[in-house]
Symmetry: C2
Subunit: 292 residues, 2 copies
Protein backbone atom coordinates (compact mmCIF):
# COMPACT_ATOMS: atom_id res chain seq x y z
CA UNK A 1 0.00 0.00 0.00
CA UNK A 2 1.27 3.46 -0.82
CA UNK A 3 -1.69 5.65 0.04
CA UNK A 4 -0.65 6.52 3.56
CA UNK A 5 -3.10 4.09 5.10
CA UNK A 6 -2.51 2.35 8.39
CA UNK A 7 -0.86 -0.59 6.66
CA UNK A 8 2.08 1.68 5.98
CA UNK A 9 4.89 2.27 8.37
CA UNK A 10 3.78 -0.12 11.04
CA UNK A 11 7.23 -1.58 11.29
CA UNK A 12 6.12 -4.98 10.07
CA UNK A 13 4.27 -5.87 13.27
CA UNK A 14 0.93 -5.70 11.46
CA UNK A 15 -0.93 -4.06 14.33
CA UNK A 16 -2.08 -1.08 12.28
CA UNK A 17 -3.42 -3.34 9.56
CA UNK A 18 -5.76 -4.88 12.15
CA UNK A 19 -7.58 -1.60 12.80
CA UNK A 20 -11.31 -1.85 12.13
CA UNK A 21 -13.76 1.03 12.37
CA UNK A 22 -17.05 0.40 14.11
CA UNK A 23 -19.81 2.18 12.25
CA UNK A 24 -21.25 3.89 15.33
CA UNK A 25 -17.98 5.76 15.82
CA UNK A 26 -18.79 7.77 12.69
CA UNK A 27 -22.55 7.63 12.69
CA UNK A 28 -22.58 10.90 10.73
CA UNK A 29 -21.55 8.76 7.74
CA UNK A 30 -24.00 6.84 5.57
CA UNK A 31 -23.03 3.28 4.70
CA UNK A 32 -21.59 4.31 1.30
CA UNK A 33 -19.66 7.12 2.97
CA UNK A 34 -18.33 4.63 5.50
CA UNK A 35 -17.20 2.18 2.83
CA UNK A 36 -15.60 4.92 0.76
CA UNK A 37 -14.03 6.66 3.76
CA UNK A 38 -12.46 3.49 5.09
CA UNK A 39 -11.15 2.46 1.69
CA UNK A 40 -9.58 5.90 1.21
CA UNK A 41 -7.96 5.78 4.64
CA UNK A 42 -6.61 2.30 4.09
CA UNK A 43 -8.70 0.87 6.91
CA UNK A 44 -9.60 -2.67 5.95
CA UNK A 45 -12.31 -3.63 8.42
CA UNK A 46 -15.66 -2.27 9.57
CA UNK A 47 -17.96 -3.25 12.39
CA UNK A 48 -21.59 -2.78 11.38
CA UNK A 49 -24.86 -2.26 13.24
CA UNK A 50 -28.10 -3.95 12.34
CA UNK A 51 -30.38 -0.93 12.05
CA UNK A 52 -28.42 1.02 9.41
CA UNK A 53 -27.63 -2.21 7.56
CA UNK A 54 -31.30 -3.16 7.41
CA UNK A 55 -32.25 0.34 6.31
CA UNK A 56 -29.81 0.04 3.43
CA UNK A 57 -30.68 -3.57 2.69
CA UNK A 58 -28.60 -6.43 4.04
CA UNK A 59 -27.56 -7.90 0.68
CA UNK A 60 -26.85 -4.45 -0.76
CA UNK A 61 -24.74 -3.55 2.28
CA UNK A 62 -22.78 -6.78 1.96
CA UNK A 63 -22.09 -6.00 -1.71
CA UNK A 64 -21.16 -2.40 -1.00
CA UNK A 65 -18.64 -3.31 1.66
CA UNK A 66 -17.18 -6.20 -0.32
CA UNK A 67 -16.81 -4.04 -3.44
CA UNK A 68 -14.86 -1.52 -1.33
CA UNK A 69 -12.45 -4.28 -0.36
CA UNK A 70 -13.51 -4.24 3.29
CA UNK A 71 -14.05 -7.05 5.74
CA UNK A 72 -17.01 -6.92 8.13
CA UNK A 73 -15.33 -7.67 11.44
CA UNK A 74 -18.50 -7.88 13.53
CA UNK A 75 -22.20 -7.22 13.53
CA UNK A 76 -23.75 -5.44 16.51
CA UNK A 77 -25.91 -6.71 17.99
CA UNK A 78 -28.06 -9.54 19.19
CA UNK A 79 -28.91 -10.41 22.74
CA UNK A 80 -31.47 -9.07 25.23
CA UNK A 81 -32.15 -12.54 26.53
CA UNK A 82 -33.31 -11.82 30.06
CA UNK A 83 -37.08 -11.39 29.73
CA UNK A 84 -39.18 -13.72 31.87
CA UNK A 85 -42.31 -13.56 29.72
CA UNK A 86 -42.43 -16.57 27.34
CA UNK A 87 -43.72 -14.48 24.45
CA UNK A 88 -40.96 -11.93 24.87
CA UNK A 89 -38.40 -14.69 25.10
CA UNK A 90 -39.61 -16.31 21.91
CA UNK A 91 -39.53 -12.97 20.13
CA UNK A 92 -35.97 -12.34 21.33
CA UNK A 93 -34.82 -15.73 20.06
CA UNK A 94 -36.48 -15.10 16.70
CA UNK A 95 -34.84 -11.70 16.43
CA UNK A 96 -31.47 -13.23 17.24
CA UNK A 97 -31.90 -15.84 14.51
CA UNK A 98 -32.53 -12.97 12.12
CA UNK A 99 -29.36 -11.25 13.36
CA UNK A 100 -27.38 -14.46 12.77
CA UNK A 101 -28.76 -14.67 9.24
CA UNK A 102 -27.77 -11.04 8.63
CA UNK A 103 -24.25 -11.68 9.93
CA UNK A 104 -23.93 -14.62 7.55
CA UNK A 105 -25.01 -12.50 4.58
CA UNK A 106 -22.49 -9.82 5.57
CA UNK A 107 -19.78 -12.45 5.69
CA UNK A 108 -18.79 -11.82 9.29
CA UNK A 109 -18.22 -14.68 11.69
CA UNK A 110 -18.94 -12.55 14.76
CA UNK A 111 -22.31 -11.49 16.17
CA UNK A 112 -21.88 -9.30 19.26
CA UNK A 113 -24.42 -9.97 22.02
CA UNK A 114 -25.55 -7.51 24.68
CA UNK A 115 -27.25 -9.88 27.05
CA UNK A 116 -29.95 -7.71 28.63
CA UNK A 117 -30.61 -6.24 32.05
CA UNK A 118 -33.03 -7.12 34.82
CA UNK A 119 -36.70 -7.44 33.86
CA UNK A 120 -38.85 -4.65 35.32
CA UNK A 121 -39.24 -5.14 39.06
CA UNK A 122 -36.78 -8.02 39.26
CA UNK A 123 -33.75 -8.13 41.55
CA UNK A 124 -32.65 -11.60 40.54
CA UNK A 125 -29.29 -11.22 38.80
CA UNK A 126 -28.40 -14.91 38.85
CA UNK A 127 -31.78 -15.88 37.42
CA UNK A 128 -31.26 -13.41 34.57
CA UNK A 129 -27.81 -14.86 33.92
CA UNK A 130 -29.27 -18.37 33.70
CA UNK A 131 -31.78 -17.23 31.09
CA UNK A 132 -28.86 -16.00 29.02
CA UNK A 133 -27.33 -19.48 29.16
CA UNK A 134 -30.66 -20.96 28.08
CA UNK A 135 -30.83 -18.63 25.08
CA UNK A 136 -27.25 -19.40 24.09
CA UNK A 137 -28.02 -23.11 24.17
CA UNK A 138 -30.81 -22.54 21.67
CA UNK A 139 -28.95 -20.14 19.39
CA UNK A 140 -25.36 -21.40 19.32
CA UNK A 141 -25.95 -24.42 17.07
CA UNK A 142 -28.10 -22.34 14.72
CA UNK A 143 -25.32 -19.75 14.48
CA UNK A 144 -22.58 -22.35 14.05
CA UNK A 145 -24.51 -23.85 11.14
CA UNK A 146 -24.24 -20.47 9.41
CA UNK A 147 -20.57 -19.88 10.20
CA UNK A 148 -21.32 -17.31 12.91
CA UNK A 149 -19.90 -17.29 16.42
CA UNK A 150 -21.86 -15.65 19.24
CA UNK A 151 -19.72 -13.06 21.02
CA UNK A 152 -20.89 -12.35 24.56
CA UNK A 153 -19.96 -8.83 25.57
CA UNK A 154 -19.51 -8.03 29.26
CA UNK A 155 -20.69 -4.45 29.75
CA UNK A 156 -19.51 -2.05 32.44
CA UNK A 157 -21.27 -2.68 35.79
CA UNK A 158 -23.07 0.66 35.46
CA UNK A 159 -25.27 -1.05 32.84
CA UNK A 160 -26.12 -4.11 34.97
CA UNK A 161 -29.70 -3.07 35.73
CA UNK A 162 -30.95 -1.91 32.37
CA UNK A 163 -28.71 -3.33 29.67
CA UNK A 164 -26.46 -6.24 30.58
CA UNK A 165 -26.24 -8.38 33.71
CA UNK A 166 -22.91 -9.77 32.46
CA UNK A 167 -20.50 -7.25 33.95
CA UNK A 168 -17.05 -8.84 33.97
CA UNK A 169 -14.93 -10.90 31.62
CA UNK A 170 -14.96 -13.70 34.20
CA UNK A 171 -18.77 -13.79 34.13
CA UNK A 172 -18.81 -13.82 30.34
CA UNK A 173 -16.32 -16.68 30.28
CA UNK A 174 -18.32 -18.62 32.88
CA UNK A 175 -21.22 -18.50 30.43
CA UNK A 176 -19.25 -19.00 27.21
CA UNK A 177 -17.33 -21.99 28.51
CA UNK A 178 -20.53 -24.00 28.78
CA UNK A 179 -20.41 -24.17 24.96
CA UNK A 180 -17.81 -25.13 22.35
CA UNK A 181 -15.25 -22.38 21.77
CA UNK A 182 -16.14 -22.23 18.10
CA UNK A 183 -19.76 -21.44 18.97
CA UNK A 184 -19.61 -18.92 21.82
CA UNK A 185 -16.82 -16.43 22.45
CA UNK A 186 -16.45 -13.17 24.34
CA UNK A 187 -15.80 -9.53 23.49
CA UNK A 188 -12.92 -7.74 25.18
CA UNK A 189 -13.90 -4.05 25.17
CA UNK A 190 -11.53 -1.72 26.98
CA UNK A 191 -14.29 0.74 27.90
CA UNK A 192 -16.20 -1.87 29.85
CA UNK A 193 -13.32 -3.76 31.45
CA UNK A 194 -10.48 -1.32 32.14
CA UNK A 195 -11.17 -0.85 35.88
CA UNK A 196 -11.03 -4.58 36.73
CA UNK A 197 -7.81 -5.86 38.33
CA UNK A 198 -8.72 -9.41 37.32
CA UNK A 199 -9.10 -8.63 33.60
CA UNK A 200 -5.54 -9.64 32.74
CA UNK A 201 -6.18 -13.07 34.19
CA UNK A 202 -9.48 -13.17 32.32
CA UNK A 203 -7.84 -12.38 28.99
CA UNK A 204 -5.28 -15.14 29.55
CA UNK A 205 -8.10 -17.53 30.44
CA UNK A 206 -10.03 -16.47 27.33
CA UNK A 207 -6.99 -17.13 25.17
CA UNK A 208 -6.67 -20.70 26.29
CA UNK A 209 -3.89 -22.27 24.24
CA UNK A 210 -4.21 -19.30 21.87
CA UNK A 211 -5.31 -21.61 19.10
CA UNK A 212 -8.63 -23.18 18.25
CA UNK A 213 -9.69 -22.92 21.86
CA UNK A 214 -9.56 -19.14 22.02
CA UNK A 215 -12.69 -17.44 23.29
CA UNK A 216 -11.71 -13.94 22.19
CA UNK A 217 -14.17 -13.27 19.39
CA UNK A 218 -13.68 -9.51 19.22
CA UNK A 219 -11.42 -6.83 20.68
CA UNK A 220 -12.86 -3.31 20.86
CA UNK A 221 -11.35 -0.02 21.92
CA UNK A 222 -12.67 3.15 23.49
CA UNK A 223 -11.25 5.36 26.20
CA UNK A 224 -12.86 6.28 29.54
CA UNK A 225 -13.45 9.98 30.12
CA UNK A 226 -15.36 11.84 32.81
CA UNK A 227 -17.75 13.35 33.74
CA UNK A 228 -20.19 10.76 32.46
CA UNK A 229 -23.24 12.19 30.71
CA UNK A 230 -26.83 11.59 31.80
CA UNK A 231 -27.79 8.01 30.96
CA UNK A 232 -24.05 7.11 30.66
CA UNK A 233 -24.41 5.73 27.14
CA UNK A 234 -22.74 8.32 24.96
CA UNK A 235 -19.73 9.44 26.93
CA UNK A 236 -16.89 7.38 25.49
CA UNK A 237 -13.55 8.96 24.80
CA UNK A 238 -11.30 9.13 21.74
CA UNK A 239 -8.27 6.83 22.04
CA UNK A 240 -5.68 8.46 24.27
CA UNK A 241 -8.02 11.03 25.82
CA UNK A 242 -8.81 9.05 28.94
CA UNK A 243 -7.79 6.66 31.69
CA UNK A 244 -7.41 3.39 29.81
CA UNK A 245 -4.00 1.85 29.17
CA UNK A 246 -4.94 0.74 25.66
CA UNK A 247 -1.55 -0.66 24.79
CA UNK A 248 -1.57 -2.83 27.91
CA UNK A 249 -4.85 -4.35 26.72
CA UNK A 250 -3.57 -4.89 23.18
CA UNK A 251 -0.44 -6.60 24.44
CA UNK A 252 -2.45 -8.84 26.77
CA UNK A 253 -4.86 -9.81 24.03
CA UNK A 254 -1.96 -10.48 21.65
CA UNK A 255 -0.21 -12.55 24.32
CA UNK A 256 -3.39 -14.59 24.65
CA UNK A 257 -3.00 -15.55 20.99
CA UNK A 258 -5.58 -13.25 19.45
CA UNK A 259 -4.64 -12.17 15.93
CA UNK A 260 -7.97 -10.75 14.77
CA UNK A 261 -9.26 -7.26 14.10
CA UNK A 262 -9.00 -4.42 16.62
CA UNK A 263 -12.22 -2.49 16.38
CA UNK A 264 -12.58 1.13 17.45
CA UNK A 265 -16.05 1.71 18.86
CA UNK A 266 -16.58 5.14 20.40
CA UNK A 267 -20.02 6.57 21.10
CA UNK A 268 -19.38 10.29 21.33
CA UNK A 269 -21.52 13.23 20.23
CA UNK A 270 -18.31 15.27 20.02
CA UNK A 271 -16.95 12.92 17.34
CA UNK A 272 -20.29 12.74 15.55
CA UNK A 273 -20.35 16.53 15.20
CA UNK A 274 -17.11 16.52 13.20
CA UNK A 275 -16.19 15.61 9.63
CA UNK A 276 -16.06 11.81 9.39
CA UNK A 277 -12.81 11.66 7.42
CA UNK A 278 -11.14 13.94 9.95
CA UNK A 279 -12.34 11.72 12.80
CA UNK A 280 -11.05 8.60 11.06
CA UNK A 281 -7.66 10.20 10.37
CA UNK A 282 -7.42 11.11 14.06
CA UNK A 283 -8.32 7.55 15.07
CA UNK A 284 -5.60 6.14 12.81
CA UNK A 285 -3.08 8.51 14.36
CA UNK A 286 -4.21 7.80 17.94
CA UNK A 287 -4.20 4.09 17.24
CA UNK A 288 -0.58 4.29 16.07
CA UNK A 289 0.37 6.24 19.19
CA UNK A 290 -1.61 4.54 21.93
CA UNK A 291 -2.36 1.00 20.74
CA UNK A 292 0.38 -0.18 18.44
Amino acid sequence: MSDGGPGDGDGGDGVLSRLSLNQETVRQWSLPELADGCARAGVRGVGLWRAPVRDYGVAAAARLVRDAGLEVTSLCRGGFFTAEDPGERAAALEDNRAAIDEAAVLGTGTLVLVSGGLPPGSRDLSGARERIADALAQLAPYAAGRGVRLALEPLHPMYAADRCVVSTLAQALDLAERFPAGQVGVVVDTYHLWWDDTVGAGIARAGGAGGAGSRIAAFQLADWVTPLPEGVLLGRGQLGDGSVDLRWFRERVDAAGYRGPIEVEIFSPALWARDGAEVLAEIVERFATHVR
Copy 2:
Protein backbone atom coordinates in the same frame (compact mmCIF):
# COMPACT_ATOMS: atom_id res chain seq x y z
CA MET B 1 -39.85 2.16 73.57
CA SER B 2 -43.43 3.20 72.98
CA ASP B 3 -43.09 6.09 70.57
CA GLY B 4 -43.54 4.08 67.39
CA GLY B 5 -39.83 4.09 66.66
CA PRO B 6 -38.13 1.32 64.78
CA GLY B 7 -37.30 -0.49 67.99
CA ASP B 8 -40.95 -1.41 68.20
CA GLY B 9 -42.43 -4.43 66.57
CA ASP B 10 -39.29 -5.84 65.09
CA GLY B 11 -40.14 -9.27 66.30
CA GLY B 12 -37.23 -9.37 68.65
CA ASP B 13 -34.66 -9.81 65.91
CA GLY B 14 -33.23 -6.37 66.59
CA VAL B 15 -32.66 -5.50 62.94
CA LEU B 16 -34.75 -2.33 63.05
CA SER B 17 -32.87 -1.10 66.09
CA ARG B 18 -29.67 -1.20 64.02
CA LEU B 19 -30.94 1.41 61.53
CA SER B 20 -28.68 4.45 61.32
CA LEU B 21 -29.35 7.52 59.21
CA ASN B 22 -26.49 8.97 57.22
CA GLN B 23 -26.64 12.73 57.34
CA GLU B 24 -26.34 13.20 53.57
CA THR B 25 -29.61 11.33 53.10
CA VAL B 26 -31.42 14.30 54.65
CA ARG B 27 -29.05 17.11 53.82
CA GLN B 28 -32.00 19.52 54.01
CA TRP B 29 -31.71 19.09 57.78
CA SER B 30 -29.29 21.10 59.95
CA LEU B 31 -27.36 19.13 62.52
CA PRO B 32 -29.82 20.06 65.35
CA GLU B 33 -32.74 19.10 63.09
CA LEU B 34 -31.00 15.79 62.36
CA ALA B 35 -30.46 15.03 66.04
CA ASP B 36 -34.00 15.99 66.94
CA GLY B 37 -35.56 14.22 63.97
CA CYS B 38 -33.75 10.96 64.63
CA ALA B 39 -34.57 11.04 68.33
CA ARG B 40 -38.25 11.63 67.56
CA ALA B 41 -38.31 8.79 65.05
CA GLY B 42 -36.57 6.41 67.45
CA VAL B 43 -33.56 6.07 65.18
CA ARG B 44 -30.53 5.58 67.40
CA GLY B 45 -27.60 6.09 65.06
CA VAL B 46 -26.38 8.74 62.66
CA GLY B 47 -23.56 8.77 60.12
CA LEU B 48 -21.99 12.22 59.91
CA TRP B 49 -19.97 14.12 57.30
CA ARG B 50 -16.96 16.23 58.05
CA ALA B 51 -17.98 19.49 56.38
CA PRO B 52 -21.28 20.08 58.23
CA VAL B 53 -19.72 18.84 61.48
CA ARG B 54 -16.84 21.29 61.18
CA ASP B 55 -19.22 24.10 60.27
CA TYR B 56 -21.14 23.40 63.47
CA GLY B 57 -18.04 22.77 65.54
CA VAL B 58 -16.75 19.25 66.17
CA ALA B 59 -17.07 19.32 69.96
CA ALA B 60 -20.48 21.00 69.81
CA ALA B 61 -21.68 18.43 67.30
CA ALA B 62 -20.46 15.61 69.52
CA ARG B 63 -22.35 17.09 72.48
CA LEU B 64 -25.50 17.70 70.45
CA VAL B 65 -25.66 14.16 69.19
CA ARG B 66 -24.80 12.63 72.55
CA ASP B 67 -27.42 14.73 74.32
CA ALA B 68 -30.01 13.46 71.86
CA GLY B 69 -29.11 9.91 72.85
CA LEU B 70 -27.62 9.08 69.45
CA GLU B 71 -24.58 7.09 68.51
CA VAL B 72 -22.33 8.32 65.68
CA THR B 73 -21.98 5.18 63.59
CA SER B 74 -19.41 6.55 61.12
CA LEU B 75 -17.70 9.68 59.93
CA CYS B 76 -17.44 10.34 56.18
CA ARG B 77 -14.81 10.72 54.99
CA GLY B 78 -11.08 10.53 54.72
CA GLY B 79 -9.06 9.14 51.87
CA PHE B 80 -7.95 10.58 48.51
CA PHE B 81 -4.57 8.93 48.83
CA THR B 82 -3.58 8.54 45.19
CA ALA B 83 -1.74 11.77 44.39
CA GLU B 84 1.82 11.33 43.11
CA ASP B 85 3.03 14.77 44.11
CA PRO B 86 4.83 14.59 47.51
CA GLY B 87 3.30 17.84 48.72
CA GLU B 88 -0.19 16.69 47.84
CA ARG B 89 0.45 13.36 49.53
CA ALA B 90 1.66 15.02 52.72
CA ALA B 91 -1.38 17.30 52.73
CA ALA B 92 -3.69 14.30 52.28
CA LEU B 93 -2.10 12.47 55.20
CA GLU B 94 -2.39 15.57 57.37
CA ASP B 95 -6.03 15.98 56.45
CA ASN B 96 -6.67 12.34 57.27
CA ARG B 97 -5.08 12.71 60.69
CA ALA B 98 -7.48 15.60 61.30
CA ALA B 99 -10.38 13.39 60.19
CA ILE B 100 -9.25 10.69 62.63
CA ASP B 101 -9.13 13.25 65.43
CA GLU B 102 -12.63 14.43 64.54
CA ALA B 103 -13.92 10.86 64.55
CA ALA B 104 -12.44 10.35 68.01
CA VAL B 105 -14.13 13.51 69.34
CA LEU B 106 -17.44 12.37 67.87
CA GLY B 107 -17.05 9.03 69.60
CA THR B 108 -17.23 6.92 66.48
CA GLY B 109 -14.84 4.07 65.86
CA THR B 110 -15.29 4.20 62.10
CA LEU B 111 -13.76 6.61 59.60
CA VAL B 112 -14.94 5.89 56.05
CA LEU B 113 -12.24 6.26 53.38
CA VAL B 114 -12.82 7.03 49.71
CA SER B 115 -9.42 6.16 48.35
CA GLY B 116 -9.08 8.50 45.38
CA GLY B 117 -9.00 8.11 41.60
CA LEU B 118 -6.20 8.29 39.06
CA PRO B 119 -3.99 11.39 39.15
CA PRO B 120 -4.50 13.64 36.09
CA GLY B 121 -3.01 12.01 33.00
CA SER B 122 -2.23 8.73 34.75
CA ARG B 123 -3.40 5.31 33.57
CA ASP B 124 -1.65 3.34 36.30
CA LEU B 125 -4.36 1.74 38.41
CA SER B 126 -2.07 -0.64 40.26
CA GLY B 127 0.37 2.15 41.12
CA ALA B 128 -2.50 4.18 42.55
CA ARG B 129 -3.62 1.18 44.60
CA GLU B 130 -0.12 0.79 46.03
CA ARG B 131 -0.12 4.42 47.13
CA ILE B 132 -3.30 3.69 49.06
CA ALA B 133 -1.53 0.88 50.89
CA ASP B 134 1.35 3.24 51.69
CA ALA B 135 -1.04 5.81 53.16
CA LEU B 136 -2.85 3.17 55.23
CA ALA B 137 0.48 2.05 56.66
CA GLN B 138 1.11 5.56 57.89
CA LEU B 139 -2.38 6.26 59.18
CA ALA B 140 -3.59 3.00 60.66
CA PRO B 141 -1.46 3.08 63.85
CA TYR B 142 -2.33 6.75 64.41
CA ALA B 143 -6.03 5.92 64.08
CA ALA B 144 -5.78 2.85 66.29
CA GLY B 145 -4.19 4.96 69.00
CA ARG B 146 -7.35 7.07 69.01
CA GLY B 147 -9.80 4.18 68.93
CA VAL B 148 -10.67 4.69 65.28
CA ARG B 149 -10.69 2.02 62.60
CA LEU B 150 -10.10 2.98 58.97
CA ALA B 151 -12.93 1.72 56.77
CA LEU B 152 -11.92 1.32 53.13
CA GLU B 153 -14.93 1.73 50.89
CA PRO B 154 -14.94 0.09 47.48
CA LEU B 155 -16.85 2.39 45.15
CA HIS B 156 -18.75 1.36 42.02
CA PRO B 157 -16.41 0.88 39.02
CA MET B 158 -17.96 3.93 37.35
CA TYR B 159 -15.97 6.02 39.85
CA ALA B 160 -12.61 4.31 39.21
CA ALA B 161 -11.08 7.16 37.22
CA ASP B 162 -12.02 10.19 39.27
CA ARG B 163 -12.91 9.07 42.77
CA CYS B 164 -11.82 5.61 43.86
CA VAL B 165 -9.57 3.03 42.21
CA VAL B 166 -10.81 0.44 44.71
CA SER B 167 -13.83 -0.95 42.86
CA THR B 168 -14.66 -4.32 44.39
CA LEU B 169 -14.92 -5.79 47.86
CA ALA B 170 -12.14 -8.24 46.93
CA GLN B 171 -9.79 -5.35 46.10
CA ALA B 172 -10.66 -3.58 49.35
CA LEU B 173 -9.98 -6.76 51.31
CA ASP B 174 -6.68 -7.31 49.48
CA LEU B 175 -5.61 -3.92 50.82
CA ALA B 176 -7.18 -4.18 54.28
CA GLU B 177 -5.73 -7.61 55.00
CA ARG B 178 -2.22 -6.20 54.92
CA PHE B 179 -3.08 -4.62 58.29
CA PRO B 180 -4.53 -5.86 61.58
CA ALA B 181 -8.30 -6.30 61.44
CA GLY B 182 -8.75 -3.88 64.30
CA GLN B 183 -6.99 -1.14 62.32
CA VAL B 184 -8.33 -1.41 58.78
CA GLY B 185 -11.75 -2.69 57.78
CA VAL B 186 -14.02 -2.36 54.75
CA VAL B 187 -17.39 -0.80 54.00
CA VAL B 188 -20.08 -2.95 52.42
CA ASP B 189 -22.32 -0.53 50.51
CA THR B 190 -25.08 -2.09 48.46
CA TYR B 191 -25.11 0.72 45.90
CA HIS B 192 -21.49 0.09 44.96
CA LEU B 193 -21.39 -3.70 45.13
CA TRP B 194 -24.78 -5.06 44.11
CA TRP B 195 -23.84 -6.04 40.52
CA ASP B 196 -20.86 -8.25 41.52
CA ASP B 197 -21.44 -12.00 41.51
CA THR B 198 -18.42 -12.47 43.79
CA VAL B 199 -19.68 -10.12 46.51
CA GLY B 200 -21.25 -12.91 48.56
CA ALA B 201 -17.89 -14.64 48.75
CA GLY B 202 -16.28 -11.31 49.59
CA ILE B 203 -18.66 -10.70 52.47
CA ALA B 204 -17.95 -14.16 53.88
CA ARG B 205 -14.22 -13.51 53.53
CA ALA B 206 -14.62 -10.12 55.24
CA GLY B 207 -16.43 -11.77 58.12
CA GLY B 208 -13.62 -14.14 58.87
CA ALA B 209 -14.60 -16.07 61.93
CA GLY B 210 -17.25 -13.43 62.59
CA GLY B 211 -15.47 -12.35 65.72
CA ALA B 212 -12.53 -10.09 66.38
CA GLY B 213 -11.19 -10.83 62.92
CA SER B 214 -14.12 -9.28 61.11
CA ARG B 215 -13.24 -6.69 58.51
CA ILE B 216 -16.77 -5.34 58.09
CA ALA B 217 -16.48 -1.87 59.59
CA ALA B 218 -19.69 -0.46 58.13
CA PHE B 219 -22.75 -1.63 56.22
CA GLN B 220 -24.52 0.99 54.12
CA LEU B 221 -27.70 0.85 52.07
CA ALA B 222 -28.97 2.59 48.98
CA ASP B 223 -30.86 1.26 45.99
CA TRP B 224 -29.80 1.39 42.32
CA VAL B 225 -32.13 3.27 39.99
CA THR B 226 -31.78 4.34 36.36
CA PRO B 227 -31.27 6.44 34.33
CA LEU B 228 -28.15 7.71 36.01
CA PRO B 229 -27.82 11.50 36.16
CA GLU B 230 -24.95 13.47 34.63
CA GLY B 231 -21.84 12.93 36.73
CA VAL B 232 -23.46 9.83 38.31
CA LEU B 233 -23.04 11.08 41.87
CA LEU B 234 -26.55 11.96 42.95
CA GLY B 235 -28.74 9.28 41.47
CA ARG B 236 -29.20 6.83 44.32
CA GLY B 237 -32.59 5.30 44.99
CA GLN B 238 -34.79 5.06 48.08
CA LEU B 239 -34.76 1.56 49.58
CA GLY B 240 -37.02 -0.69 47.54
CA ASP B 241 -37.22 1.55 44.50
CA GLY B 242 -34.47 -0.15 42.51
CA SER B 243 -32.61 -3.28 41.51
CA VAL B 244 -30.79 -4.21 44.70
CA ASP B 245 -31.80 -7.22 46.76
CA LEU B 246 -31.22 -5.41 50.05
CA ARG B 247 -32.39 -8.25 52.28
CA TRP B 248 -29.97 -10.64 50.58
CA PHE B 249 -27.14 -8.29 51.49
CA ARG B 250 -28.33 -7.89 55.08
CA GLU B 251 -28.61 -11.64 55.52
CA ARG B 252 -25.12 -12.20 54.07
CA VAL B 253 -23.59 -9.53 56.29
CA ASP B 254 -25.39 -11.00 59.32
CA ALA B 255 -24.20 -14.49 58.39
CA ALA B 256 -20.65 -13.12 58.27
CA GLY B 257 -21.03 -12.21 61.93
CA TYR B 258 -21.63 -8.48 61.59
CA ARG B 259 -23.86 -7.10 64.33
CA GLY B 260 -23.24 -3.39 63.88
CA PRO B 261 -25.29 -0.49 62.57
CA ILE B 262 -27.00 -0.53 59.19
CA GLU B 263 -26.62 2.91 57.75
CA VAL B 264 -28.92 4.35 55.10
CA GLU B 265 -26.94 6.64 52.78
CA ILE B 266 -28.90 7.90 49.79
CA PHE B 267 -27.76 10.86 47.70
CA SER B 268 -30.94 11.95 45.97
CA PRO B 269 -32.16 15.43 45.07
CA ALA B 270 -35.70 13.99 45.08
CA LEU B 271 -35.36 13.11 48.78
CA TRP B 272 -33.65 16.40 49.59
CA ALA B 273 -36.59 18.32 48.15
CA ARG B 274 -39.01 16.77 50.66
CA ASP B 275 -39.70 17.27 54.34
CA GLY B 276 -36.95 15.56 56.30
CA ALA B 277 -39.23 13.89 58.84
CA GLU B 278 -41.38 12.51 56.04
CA VAL B 279 -38.27 11.11 54.31
CA LEU B 280 -37.08 9.49 57.53
CA ALA B 281 -40.49 7.94 58.20
CA GLU B 282 -40.45 6.50 54.70
CA ILE B 283 -36.94 5.11 55.24
CA VAL B 284 -38.03 3.41 58.46
CA GLU B 285 -40.98 1.86 56.65
CA ARG B 286 -38.91 0.77 53.65
CA PHE B 287 -36.23 -0.61 55.94
CA ALA B 288 -38.83 -2.76 57.70
CA THR B 289 -40.16 -4.03 54.37
CA HIS B 290 -37.00 -4.52 52.31
CA VAL B 291 -34.15 -5.02 54.76
CA ARG B 292 -35.39 -6.60 57.96
